[in-house]
Symmetry: C2
Subunit: 231 residues, 2 copies
Amino acid sequence: MPKYVEIAQDIEQRIKAQDLLQGTKLANITALASQYSVSKNTILKTLQLLEERGSIYQVQGSGIFVRRKKRRGYISLIQNRGFTDDLKAADETSKVITLETISATEEIATNLQCTIGDPVYFVERVHAIRGQVFCFEQSYYNQEIVTFLNRAIAEDSIFDYLEKGLNLQIGFSDKYLKVARVKKEIAEFLELSAKDPVLFIEELYYTASGRPFDFSKNYYHPDYSQFFIQS
Amino acid sequence: MPKYVEIAQDIEQRIKAQDLLQGTKLANITALASQYSVSKNTILKTLQLLEERGSIYQVQGSGIFVRRKKRRGYISLIQNRGFTDDLKAADETSKVITLETISATEEIATNLQCTIGDPVYFVERVHAIRGQVFCFEQSYYNQEIVTFLNRAIAEDSIFDYLEKGLNLQIGFSDKYLKVARVKKEIAEFLELSAKDPVLFIEELYYTASGRPFDFSKNYYHPDYSQFFIQS
Protein backbone atom coordinates (compact mmCIF):
# COMPACT_ATOMS: atom_id res chain seq x y z
CA MET A 1 0.00 0.00 0.00
CA PRO A 2 1.47 3.40 -0.93
CA LYS A 3 2.62 5.51 2.03
CA TYR A 4 0.11 8.31 1.34
CA VAL A 5 -2.79 5.83 1.48
CA GLU A 6 -1.48 4.44 4.78
CA ILE A 7 -1.33 7.93 6.24
CA ALA A 8 -4.84 8.69 4.97
CA GLN A 9 -6.15 5.59 6.73
CA ASP A 10 -4.33 6.55 9.90
CA ILE A 11 -5.86 10.04 9.86
CA GLU A 12 -9.33 8.59 9.27
CA GLN A 13 -8.81 6.19 12.18
CA ARG A 14 -7.90 9.08 14.43
CA ILE A 15 -10.90 11.17 13.38
CA LYS A 16 -13.08 8.17 14.22
CA ALA A 17 -11.31 7.23 17.46
CA GLN A 18 -11.42 10.81 18.77
CA ASP A 19 -14.96 11.30 17.43
CA LEU A 20 -13.94 14.67 15.94
CA LEU A 21 -16.81 16.89 14.83
CA GLN A 22 -17.24 18.49 11.42
CA GLY A 23 -15.22 21.68 11.27
CA THR A 24 -12.52 20.50 13.70
CA LYS A 25 -9.22 21.89 12.46
CA LEU A 26 -6.44 19.39 11.82
CA ALA A 27 -2.66 19.97 11.86
CA ASN A 28 -1.26 21.81 8.83
CA ILE A 29 0.75 20.26 6.01
CA THR A 30 4.17 21.02 7.49
CA ALA A 31 3.17 19.56 10.85
CA LEU A 32 1.66 16.44 9.25
CA ALA A 33 4.79 15.92 7.12
CA SER A 34 7.05 16.05 10.14
CA GLN A 35 4.66 13.94 12.24
CA TYR A 36 4.66 11.13 9.66
CA SER A 37 8.31 11.73 8.59
CA VAL A 38 7.39 12.12 4.93
CA SER A 39 7.65 14.88 2.33
CA LYS A 40 5.04 17.60 1.99
CA ASN A 41 4.30 16.13 -1.41
CA THR A 42 3.22 12.85 0.17
CA ILE A 43 0.96 14.75 2.57
CA LEU A 44 -0.56 16.66 -0.37
CA LYS A 45 -1.46 13.32 -1.96
CA THR A 46 -2.89 12.10 1.35
CA LEU A 47 -5.04 15.21 1.66
CA GLN A 48 -6.29 14.89 -1.90
CA LEU A 49 -7.35 11.31 -1.19
CA LEU A 50 -9.03 12.28 2.09
CA GLU A 51 -10.87 15.07 0.32
CA GLU A 52 -12.06 12.69 -2.41
CA ARG A 53 -13.23 10.27 0.26
CA GLY A 54 -15.22 13.05 1.93
CA SER A 55 -13.25 12.80 5.18
CA ILE A 56 -11.86 16.34 5.19
CA TYR A 57 -12.19 19.68 3.45
CA GLN A 58 -9.51 22.27 2.89
CA VAL A 59 -10.04 26.01 3.11
CA GLN A 60 -7.38 28.00 1.32
CA GLY A 61 -5.33 30.13 3.67
CA SER A 62 -7.19 28.72 6.62
CA GLY A 63 -6.49 25.04 7.07
CA ILE A 64 -7.67 21.45 6.93
CA PHE A 65 -10.97 20.51 8.57
CA VAL A 66 -12.87 17.34 9.46
CA ARG A 67 -15.99 16.55 7.45
CA ARG A 68 -19.03 15.25 9.28
CA LYS A 69 -19.46 11.53 9.25
CA LYS A 70 -22.24 10.32 7.03
CA ARG A 71 -25.51 9.21 8.54
CA ARG A 72 -25.48 5.61 9.73
CA GLY A 73 -26.81 2.82 7.55
CA TYR A 74 -26.23 4.55 4.21
CA ILE A 75 -24.29 2.92 1.39
CA SER A 76 -21.68 5.04 -0.40
CA LEU A 77 -22.22 5.46 -4.11
CA ILE A 78 -18.81 6.88 -4.88
CA GLN A 79 -16.50 4.28 -3.42
CA ASN A 80 -15.24 1.94 -6.12
CA ARG A 81 -15.46 -1.13 -3.99
CA GLY A 82 -18.82 -2.65 -4.65
CA PHE A 83 -20.81 -2.13 -1.51
CA THR A 84 -19.10 -4.63 0.74
CA ASP A 85 -16.68 -2.27 2.43
CA ASP A 86 -19.34 0.02 3.83
CA LEU A 87 -21.38 -2.78 5.16
CA LYS A 88 -18.77 -5.12 6.54
CA ALA A 89 -19.30 -3.68 9.98
CA ALA A 90 -23.02 -4.19 9.58
CA ASP A 91 -22.90 -7.99 9.28
CA GLU A 92 -23.40 -8.11 5.55
CA THR A 93 -23.65 -11.57 4.04
CA SER A 94 -23.70 -12.60 0.38
CA LYS A 95 -25.37 -15.74 -0.87
CA VAL A 96 -24.43 -17.05 -4.31
CA ILE A 97 -27.45 -18.09 -6.38
CA THR A 98 -25.68 -18.63 -9.71
CA LEU A 99 -22.06 -18.83 -10.81
CA GLU A 100 -21.48 -19.99 -14.33
CA THR A 101 -19.71 -19.21 -17.57
CA ILE A 102 -21.99 -17.85 -20.28
CA SER A 103 -21.51 -16.29 -23.72
CA ALA A 104 -21.70 -12.50 -23.83
CA THR A 105 -24.98 -11.21 -25.24
CA GLU A 106 -25.03 -7.97 -27.22
CA GLU A 107 -25.85 -5.96 -24.09
CA ILE A 108 -23.02 -7.54 -22.12
CA ALA A 109 -20.53 -7.22 -24.98
CA THR A 110 -21.38 -3.53 -25.44
CA ASN A 111 -20.84 -2.81 -21.77
CA LEU A 112 -17.73 -4.95 -21.30
CA GLN A 113 -16.30 -3.85 -24.68
CA CYS A 114 -15.82 -7.45 -25.71
CA THR A 115 -17.17 -9.54 -28.59
CA ILE A 116 -20.59 -11.18 -28.60
CA GLY A 117 -20.08 -14.80 -27.61
CA ASP A 118 -16.97 -14.17 -25.51
CA PRO A 119 -16.96 -16.15 -22.25
CA VAL A 120 -18.01 -14.17 -19.17
CA TYR A 121 -18.69 -15.19 -15.60
CA PHE A 122 -22.33 -14.70 -14.70
CA VAL A 123 -22.84 -14.31 -10.96
CA GLU A 124 -26.15 -13.84 -9.18
CA ARG A 125 -26.01 -12.98 -5.51
CA VAL A 126 -28.38 -12.01 -2.75
CA HIS A 127 -27.00 -9.56 -0.20
CA ALA A 128 -28.38 -9.27 3.32
CA ILE A 129 -27.65 -7.25 6.43
CA ARG A 130 -28.44 -8.98 9.70
CA GLY A 131 -30.52 -11.49 7.78
CA GLN A 132 -32.55 -8.84 5.94
CA VAL A 133 -32.18 -9.11 2.14
CA PHE A 134 -31.55 -5.67 0.65
CA CYS A 135 -30.02 -6.35 -2.77
CA PHE A 136 -30.23 -8.82 -5.63
CA GLU A 137 -27.21 -8.54 -7.90
CA GLN A 138 -26.51 -9.88 -11.40
CA SER A 139 -22.89 -9.41 -12.47
CA TYR A 140 -20.94 -10.21 -15.59
CA TYR A 141 -17.15 -10.45 -15.48
CA ASN A 142 -14.98 -10.45 -18.56
CA GLN A 143 -12.96 -13.68 -18.34
CA GLU A 144 -10.10 -12.17 -20.26
CA ILE A 145 -9.48 -9.99 -17.19
CA VAL A 146 -11.18 -11.95 -14.41
CA THR A 147 -9.57 -15.25 -15.26
CA PHE A 148 -10.94 -17.24 -12.35
CA LEU A 149 -13.88 -17.11 -9.91
CA ASN A 150 -15.59 -19.66 -7.68
CA ARG A 151 -18.42 -19.78 -5.17
CA ALA A 152 -16.21 -19.39 -2.11
CA ILE A 153 -14.78 -16.18 -3.55
CA ALA A 154 -18.21 -14.88 -4.52
CA GLU A 155 -19.58 -15.50 -1.03
CA ASP A 156 -16.79 -13.33 0.33
CA SER A 157 -15.68 -10.13 -1.43
CA ILE A 158 -15.03 -10.53 -5.17
CA PHE A 159 -13.26 -7.16 -5.28
CA ASP A 160 -10.88 -8.10 -2.47
CA TYR A 161 -10.01 -11.23 -4.41
CA LEU A 162 -9.51 -9.32 -7.68
CA GLU A 163 -7.08 -6.96 -6.01
CA LYS A 164 -5.25 -9.39 -3.78
CA GLY A 165 -5.62 -12.66 -5.65
CA LEU A 166 -5.52 -11.52 -9.27
CA ASN A 167 -3.51 -8.36 -8.65
CA LEU A 168 -6.04 -6.34 -10.60
CA GLN A 169 -5.88 -2.58 -10.17
CA ILE A 170 -9.41 -1.26 -9.90
CA GLY A 171 -9.68 2.14 -11.50
CA PHE A 172 -13.00 3.91 -11.84
CA SER A 173 -16.69 3.23 -12.29
CA ASP A 174 -19.87 4.44 -13.97
CA LYS A 175 -23.15 3.97 -12.14
CA TYR A 176 -26.60 4.50 -13.61
CA LEU A 177 -29.51 4.69 -11.27
CA LYS A 178 -33.29 4.85 -11.44
CA VAL A 179 -36.49 3.59 -9.88
CA ALA A 180 -37.75 0.47 -11.65
CA ARG A 181 -40.49 -2.10 -11.26
CA VAL A 182 -39.28 -5.67 -10.75
CA LYS A 183 -40.28 -8.82 -12.51
CA LYS A 184 -41.64 -11.68 -10.46
CA GLU A 185 -38.43 -13.79 -10.68
CA ILE A 186 -36.37 -11.00 -9.20
CA ALA A 187 -39.04 -9.76 -6.78
CA GLU A 188 -39.00 -13.16 -5.07
CA PHE A 189 -35.34 -12.84 -4.07
CA LEU A 190 -36.13 -9.52 -2.40
CA GLU A 191 -39.31 -10.78 -0.75
CA LEU A 192 -41.28 -8.31 -2.86
CA SER A 193 -44.21 -8.71 -5.25
CA ALA A 194 -44.04 -8.36 -9.03
CA LYS A 195 -44.06 -4.69 -10.14
CA ASP A 196 -43.00 -3.39 -6.74
CA PRO A 197 -40.58 -0.47 -7.08
CA VAL A 198 -36.87 -0.99 -6.45
CA LEU A 199 -33.83 1.17 -6.82
CA PHE A 200 -32.10 -0.19 -9.90
CA ILE A 201 -28.39 0.56 -10.30
CA GLU A 202 -26.31 -0.51 -13.29
CA GLU A 203 -22.61 -0.41 -12.59
CA LEU A 204 -19.54 -0.62 -14.79
CA TYR A 205 -16.16 -1.08 -13.18
CA TYR A 206 -12.91 -0.39 -15.03
CA THR A 207 -9.33 -1.39 -14.37
CA ALA A 208 -6.81 1.39 -13.72
CA SER A 209 -5.88 1.13 -17.38
CA GLY A 210 -9.46 1.83 -18.46
CA ARG A 211 -10.75 -1.64 -19.39
CA PRO A 212 -14.25 -2.55 -18.19
CA PHE A 213 -14.18 -5.86 -16.30
CA ASP A 214 -17.46 -5.95 -14.33
CA PHE A 215 -20.95 -5.05 -15.55
CA SER A 216 -23.58 -5.35 -12.80
CA LYS A 217 -27.30 -4.92 -12.40
CA ASN A 218 -28.34 -4.32 -8.83
CA TYR A 219 -31.89 -4.35 -7.53
CA TYR A 220 -32.19 -2.70 -4.12
CA HIS A 221 -35.10 -3.24 -1.75
CA PRO A 222 -36.83 0.14 -1.32
CA ASP A 223 -37.33 -0.23 2.44
CA TYR A 224 -33.88 -1.49 3.36
CA SER A 225 -31.51 0.49 1.13
CA GLN A 226 -30.39 4.08 1.38
CA PHE A 227 -27.43 5.71 -0.23
CA PHE A 228 -25.21 8.71 0.18
CA ILE A 229 -22.89 10.67 -2.05
CA GLN A 230 -20.33 13.07 -0.67
CA SER A 231 -18.76 15.28 -3.30
CA MET B 1 -12.20 31.81 -13.58
CA PRO B 2 -8.81 30.26 -12.70
CA LYS B 3 -6.64 29.38 -15.70
CA TYR B 4 -6.66 25.63 -14.95
CA VAL B 5 -10.49 25.58 -14.99
CA GLU B 6 -10.51 27.44 -18.32
CA ILE B 7 -8.13 24.88 -19.81
CA ALA B 8 -10.23 22.02 -18.43
CA GLN B 9 -13.30 23.45 -20.13
CA ASP B 10 -11.39 23.87 -23.37
CA ILE B 11 -10.22 20.25 -23.29
CA GLU B 12 -13.78 19.05 -22.58
CA GLN B 13 -15.06 21.13 -25.47
CA ARG B 14 -12.51 19.56 -27.79
CA ILE B 15 -13.36 16.02 -26.66
CA LYS B 16 -16.98 16.82 -27.40
CA ALA B 17 -16.37 18.61 -30.69
CA GLN B 18 -14.13 15.84 -32.01
CA ASP B 19 -16.41 13.17 -30.56
CA LEU B 20 -13.39 11.35 -29.12
CA LEU B 21 -14.04 7.80 -27.94
CA GLN B 22 -13.23 6.38 -24.53
CA GLY B 23 -9.61 5.31 -24.47
CA THR B 24 -8.41 7.93 -26.96
CA LYS B 25 -4.99 9.08 -25.83
CA LEU B 26 -4.53 12.81 -25.26
CA ALA B 27 -1.31 14.85 -25.42
CA ASN B 28 1.03 14.46 -22.44
CA ILE B 29 1.58 17.00 -19.66
CA THR B 30 4.62 18.65 -21.26
CA ALA B 31 2.82 19.04 -24.59
CA LEU B 32 -0.32 20.41 -22.94
CA ALA B 33 1.71 22.90 -20.90
CA SER B 34 3.44 24.23 -24.00
CA GLN B 35 0.19 24.22 -25.99
CA TYR B 36 -1.61 26.37 -23.41
CA SER B 37 1.56 28.35 -22.46
CA VAL B 38 1.22 27.52 -18.78
CA SER B 39 3.31 25.65 -16.19
CA LYS B 40 3.14 21.90 -15.79
CA ASN B 41 1.70 22.56 -12.36
CA THR B 42 -1.31 24.29 -13.90
CA ILE B 43 -1.82 21.33 -16.22
CA LEU B 44 -1.61 18.95 -13.25
CA LYS B 45 -4.46 20.88 -11.62
CA THR B 46 -6.42 20.81 -14.87
CA LEU B 47 -5.99 17.04 -15.13
CA GLN B 48 -7.04 16.52 -11.53
CA LEU B 49 -10.22 18.49 -12.20
CA LEU B 50 -10.93 16.60 -15.43
CA GLU B 51 -10.43 13.32 -13.60
CA GLU B 52 -12.82 14.37 -10.83
CA ARG B 53 -15.38 15.34 -13.44
CA GLY B 54 -15.06 11.93 -15.07
CA SER B 55 -13.82 13.37 -18.38
CA ILE B 56 -10.45 11.64 -18.45
CA TYR B 57 -8.46 8.94 -16.72
CA GLN B 58 -4.72 8.75 -16.25
CA VAL B 59 -2.67 5.60 -16.45
CA GLN B 60 0.67 5.86 -14.73
CA GLY B 61 3.57 5.58 -17.14
CA SER B 62 1.19 5.38 -20.05
CA GLY B 63 -0.74 8.62 -20.52
CA ILE B 64 -3.96 10.53 -20.33
CA PHE B 65 -7.12 9.06 -21.86
CA VAL B 66 -10.64 10.16 -22.70
CA ARG B 67 -13.46 8.73 -20.58
CA ARG B 68 -16.61 7.67 -22.31
CA LYS B 69 -19.37 10.23 -22.25
CA LYS B 70 -22.22 9.36 -19.96
CA ARG B 71 -25.46 8.05 -21.39
CA ARG B 72 -27.81 10.80 -22.52
CA GLY B 73 -30.59 12.06 -20.28
CA TYR B 74 -28.95 11.14 -16.99
CA ILE B 75 -28.47 13.67 -14.19
CA SER B 76 -25.08 13.78 -12.48
CA LEU B 77 -25.15 13.13 -8.76
CA ILE B 78 -21.64 14.31 -8.06
CA GLN B 79 -21.59 17.78 -9.54
CA ASN B 80 -22.13 20.38 -6.85
CA ARG B 81 -24.35 22.55 -8.96
CA GLY B 82 -27.86 21.53 -8.20
CA PHE B 83 -29.09 19.78 -11.32
CA THR B 84 -29.51 22.78 -13.56
CA ASP B 85 -26.16 22.58 -15.30
CA ASP B 86 -26.68 19.10 -16.66
CA LEU B 87 -30.08 19.86 -17.96
CA LYS B 88 -29.67 23.34 -19.37
CA ALA B 89 -29.15 21.87 -22.79
CA ALA B 90 -32.31 19.83 -22.37
CA ASP B 91 -34.70 22.77 -22.05
CA GLU B 92 -35.08 22.54 -18.33
CA THR B 93 -37.52 25.00 -16.78
CA SER B 94 -38.18 25.76 -13.12
CA LYS B 95 -41.48 27.08 -11.81
CA VAL B 96 -41.55 28.70 -8.39
CA ILE B 97 -44.48 27.53 -6.25
CA THR B 98 -43.43 29.13 -2.95
CA LEU B 99 -40.80 31.64 -1.93
CA GLU B 100 -41.07 32.94 1.61
CA THR B 101 -39.16 33.53 4.80
CA ILE B 102 -39.94 31.05 7.55
CA SER B 103 -38.49 30.21 10.97
CA ALA B 104 -36.15 27.24 11.06
CA THR B 105 -37.74 24.12 12.54
CA GLU B 106 -35.62 21.66 14.51
CA GLU B 107 -34.98 19.57 11.38
CA ILE B 108 -33.92 22.60 9.33
CA ALA B 109 -31.78 24.01 12.15
CA THR B 110 -29.99 20.68 12.60
CA ASN B 111 -29.19 20.46 8.92
CA LEU B 112 -28.24 24.10 8.38
CA GLN B 113 -26.37 24.22 11.71
CA CYS B 114 -28.35 27.29 12.77
CA THR B 115 -30.68 28.00 15.70
CA ILE B 116 -34.35 26.99 15.79
CA GLY B 117 -36.37 30.06 14.84
CA ASP B 118 -33.63 31.60 12.66
CA PRO B 119 -34.98 33.08 9.40
CA VAL B 120 -34.55 30.86 6.33
CA TYR B 121 -35.79 31.16 2.77
CA PHE B 122 -38.25 28.39 1.95
CA VAL B 123 -38.45 27.74 -1.78
CA GLU B 124 -40.67 25.19 -3.49
CA ARG B 125 -40.07 24.61 -7.18
CA VAL B 126 -41.27 22.29 -9.89
CA HIS B 127 -38.66 21.34 -12.49
CA ALA B 128 -39.59 20.19 -15.97
CA ILE B 129 -37.76 19.08 -19.12
CA ARG B 130 -39.55 19.88 -22.37
CA GLY B 131 -42.74 20.41 -20.39
CA GLN B 132 -42.49 17.09 -18.52
CA VAL B 133 -42.33 17.58 -14.73
CA PHE B 134 -39.57 15.40 -13.27
CA CYS B 135 -38.79 16.95 -9.87
CA PHE B 136 -40.52 18.70 -7.01
CA GLU B 137 -38.02 20.49 -4.78
CA GLN B 138 -38.29 21.99 -1.31
CA SER B 139 -35.24 24.00 -0.31
CA TYR B 140 -34.23 25.91 2.78
CA TYR B 141 -31.52 28.57 2.59
CA ASN B 142 -29.83 30.03 5.65
CA GLN B 143 -30.42 33.79 5.40
CA GLU B 144 -27.23 34.53 7.25
CA ILE B 145 -25.40 33.27 4.15
CA VAL B 146 -28.01 33.61 1.41
CA THR B 147 -28.95 37.17 2.25
CA PHE B 148 -31.34 37.74 -0.62
CA LEU B 149 -33.53 35.73 -2.99
CA ASN B 150 -36.53 36.51 -5.16
CA ARG B 151 -38.79 34.73 -7.61
CA ALA B 152 -36.93 35.86 -10.71
CA ILE B 153 -33.70 34.37 -9.34
CA ALA B 154 -35.43 31.16 -8.31
CA GLU B 155 -36.95 30.69 -11.78
CA ASP B 156 -33.44 30.86 -13.20
CA SER B 157 -30.45 29.18 -11.49
CA ILE B 158 -30.17 29.93 -7.76
CA PHE B 159 -26.61 28.55 -7.71
CA ASP B 160 -25.48 30.81 -10.55
CA TYR B 161 -26.85 33.76 -8.60
CA LEU B 162 -25.15 32.67 -5.36
CA GLU B 163 -21.80 32.47 -7.10
CA LYS B 164 -22.05 35.50 -9.35
CA GLY B 165 -24.46 37.73 -7.45
CA LEU B 166 -23.56 36.97 -3.84
CA ASN B 167 -19.99 35.90 -4.50
CA LEU B 168 -20.54 32.73 -2.54
CA GLN B 169 -17.96 30.00 -2.98
CA ILE B 170 -19.77 26.69 -3.20
CA GLY B 171 -17.70 23.94 -1.60
CA PHE B 172 -19.04 20.43 -1.22
CA SER B 173 -22.26 18.52 -0.70
CA ASP B 174 -23.84 15.55 1.05
CA LYS B 175 -26.66 13.74 -0.72
CA TYR B 176 -28.91 11.08 0.82
CA LEU B 177 -31.00 9.00 -1.48
CA LYS B 178 -33.76 6.41 -1.22
CA VAL B 179 -37.03 5.26 -2.72
CA ALA B 180 -39.99 6.81 -0.88
CA ARG B 181 -43.75 6.96 -1.21
CA VAL B 182 -45.17 10.45 -1.72
CA LYS B 183 -47.97 12.20 0.11
CA LYS B 184 -50.92 13.45 -1.90
CA GLU B 185 -49.86 17.14 -1.74
CA ILE B 186 -46.49 16.36 -3.29
CA ALA B 187 -47.77 13.66 -5.66
CA GLU B 188 -49.98 16.25 -7.33
CA PHE B 189 -47.04 18.38 -8.42
CA LEU B 190 -45.50 15.34 -10.10
CA GLU B 191 -48.77 14.21 -11.66
CA LEU B 192 -48.58 11.07 -9.53
CA SER B 193 -51.01 9.48 -7.09
CA ALA B 194 -50.59 9.34 -3.31
CA LYS B 195 -48.17 6.58 -2.20
CA ASP B 196 -46.59 6.26 -5.64
CA PRO B 197 -42.85 5.62 -5.40
CA VAL B 198 -40.40 8.44 -6.10
CA LEU B 199 -36.66 8.81 -5.80
CA PHE B 200 -36.20 11.00 -2.75
CA ILE B 201 -32.89 12.85 -2.42
CA GLU B 202 -31.97 15.05 0.53
CA GLU B 203 -29.12 17.40 -0.25
CA LEU B 204 -26.91 19.58 1.90
CA TYR B 205 -24.67 22.13 0.20
CA TYR B 206 -21.75 23.74 1.99
CA THR B 207 -19.70 26.87 1.27
CA ALA B 208 -16.00 26.39 0.55
CA SER B 209 -15.37 27.24 4.20
CA GLY B 210 -17.61 24.37 5.32
CA ARG B 211 -20.84 26.15 6.32
CA PRO B 212 -24.11 24.54 5.19
CA PHE B 213 -26.26 27.07 3.33
CA ASP B 214 -28.82 24.96 1.43
CA PHE B 215 -30.86 22.02 2.71
CA SER B 216 -33.11 20.51 0.02
CA LYS B 217 -35.64 17.73 -0.30
CA ASN B 218 -36.08 16.56 -3.87
CA TYR B 219 -38.82 14.24 -5.10
CA TYR B 220 -38.03 12.77 -8.51
CA HIS B 221 -40.61 11.27 -10.83
CA PRO B 222 -39.72 7.56 -11.25
CA ASP B 223 -40.43 7.51 -14.98
CA TYR B 224 -38.65 10.71 -15.96
CA SER B 225 -35.53 10.76 -13.80
CA GLN B 226 -32.34 8.79 -14.08
CA PHE B 227 -28.99 9.52 -12.55
CA PHE B 228 -25.37 8.71 -13.02
CA ILE B 229 -22.28 8.76 -10.85
CA GLN B 230 -18.80 8.60 -12.30
CA SER B 231 -16.11 7.98 -9.73
